[in-house]
Symmetry: C2
Subunit: 113 residues, 2 copies
DNA sequence: TGAATATATTCGCTTATCCATATATACAGT
DNA sequence: ACTGTATATATGGATAAGCGAATATATTCA
């Protein structure tokens, strides 16, 4: 994971909105992100695909849903940067509104590591 | 300072190379960055201007040199993210080479806060 | 099997980003 | 004033990034 590649991925508002929610809420399915962020499903999916291809998030299917979470193999420095980003996001829009709007729409099973 | 704007600024290799050196070495003049990073002076200047306009770095003139440093008004979360970036940069190129190649070419006076 | 739900991908377009080159500005020393 | 050094900016062109709309795929349930 190259630092500039990582930060370029983080430096898009839609992707950062997804990541901030993943940091704060844990594993989420696409429809929960769409619901909280209020952007179109294809837009969210496209940005999640970039994060997935870049190794920032992992995805797993569970029934009809696909759950995303911060990648297990994310380096410590990258995870720390995301936590800082989430801190900064608390005070600014649209991130704060996303977190407030968030609601569970599907329960991930804990059965998968 | 909006998180996505900040991370977009960080997500360019040239700018991140400058920032990693500023985190590690403190206040630096442009010619030291050009010397360590080995990119053209206009290229470095242009990226520093973006960082300056974005409030990430402060600049002060001292004689014929202009010294840059992390902005005094950088929020804690942004400063923490930069420190994480510098951690990540230690293990990867071209950042490690920049730091190794770095040498002082001008001494900033400590007289200015 | 067929319909409904969830998610992913492709396409054409627009805009933003980055670059190299050339040039401008500011200061220092003679 | 003139020269050299340090730094900044403007210009035009190439490439990349992001978007909406349409469509494709996968799963569930009846």
């Amino acid at each position: 994971m190259e630092p500039d590649t990582f930060f370029k991925l983080i430096g898009d508002q839609t992707r950062l909105r997804c990541l901030v929610l993943l940091v704060a809420k844990g594993e989420l399915c696409v429809c929960e992100l769409v619901d909280a962020i209020r952007e179109s499903q294809p837009k969210i999916s496209r940005h999640l695909a970039l994060l997935r291809d870049g190794g920032v998030v992992d995805a797993r299917r569970q029934g009809q849903w696909i759950f995303y979470r911060l990648s297990d193999s994310l380096p410590d420095w990258a995870r720390a940067a995301l936590i800082s980003a989430e801190q900064g996001a608390k005070a600014s829009s649209p991130y704060a509104g996303d977190a407030k709007r968030f609601r569970r729409l599907a329960e991930p099973s804990d059965l998968v590591a």
